[in-house]
Symmetry: D2
Subunit: 131 residues, 4 copies
């Protein structure tokens, strides 16, 4: 899909997606799914290097998605789009993150946010069983 | 990504996604991005056969995404998931749609909703120029 | 504000709000804030009689709001509106609830959803201190 | 409810709400409804002095709420909270606005966003009739 993670730090990431003809809708506008995937990927990478995730994984736990939301602000018809994701609040149980997507000329194209929940190993096992 | 549209009518669709090892997160849980794409695709197909979209397209207009939201209700660790999407309100300017994703054993895995806006041709041209 | 809780059971509630002149916007449309409050109240009452909340409270814990969302589907210009709220998923850590608001003639006016998190007493004390 | 609009300009507003005992939940945490109302009010005031709204009203139209979302980031147990609302994108058809709520010591308590739609007079009349 042409997603690239450009840079990552603890609590933030930069990623991009390139516009290709096969990703466009009939009206020549970039498909919403590309923007959603870019935001989803960007936020996941912003979480990746945090101490909280390292700590959880060491104990066999995980950060699990609770909610993802994307607001499409401007249509994009060409070029590369960039996603800046950052953690807004890293609580022990709940993590809030946000992302802003801009076009090549710096205009806002979309905004997204996600909520993640810290799940300890015991809870993961129980959920998979109960499911 | 293994997305399949199973059936479509005016205002509704049924679609599925299959769980593959390469789509899983470390904890063995299906990646949120697959579920988001399934919901996005399902809702887009529910819109496809509506009179409103046919009318808009005949005039050179389009339905454009304003908002997409996904709530992850239960982790999925195996098998196929199914998405039922339907239009909740088809207004002249705004369309609201919703989707429910269930696992093979009928449990709810995720819920999603989307808002679309009807954009006439003149508006599309202006937005692309101004962008 | 004219909110009334009409009926409550474990996992669901029915509530209403009446349209008054002082709650209307210039265009004669019921103010969004009334609908948001009705949904917020309805969902809170749907949680009230659940075993999970009883259990949490016995231990000094609470269900805390993580997220509230309201989609305004149709304008309402007169009469009483009704809110049906129900719990969609009552997990140990996360609770998902939804609400549908209808007008007197049964048309959908709004839809809302909320995410709550179960917080044990120890966690509440820590959060209040750290805050 | 103790809401106060402190300052307003075209595209932004500052508002506050004060914590009172009767607005608290059992656990001593400010009720989510107060925060939602503060965000709703703050965003409505950010729209109030914009040229787009003036123009719409002159023609008998209105800005109508499509969507309101509130994310509760930290519990608040005392004092006054402040809401900074701003318009993120003022399109001809759709307006996106966001708000950040902070406590007295500057910590983020909540984030919210809203989508409004410009409705011309003709459309308002039709919707009220059809409803």
């Amino acid at each position: 899909m042409g997603l690239r993670v450009l840079d990552v730090g603890p609590g933030w990431s930069k990623a991009s997606a390139s516009h290709r003809e096969d990703l466009t809708q009939p009206a020549g506008i970039m498909h919403g799914g590309v923007i959603s995937s870019l935001i989803d990927t960007g936020i996941a990478h912003a979480l990746m290097m945090t101490d909280r995730l390292t700590e959880l994984r060491r104990e066999g736990g995980a950060l699990v998605s609770v909610d993802l939301r994307v607001k499409f602000i401007r249509p994009v018809s060409q070029g590369t789009i960039f996603c800046d994701a950052k953690i807004v609040r890293l609580g022990r149980q709940i993590v809030h993150a946000e992302a802003v997507v801009t076009s090549e000329d710096g205009k806002e194209v979309a905004r997204g946010d996600a909520i993640y929940m810290a799940v300890p190993q015991s809870q993961i096992e129980r959920q998979i069983e109960q499911n």
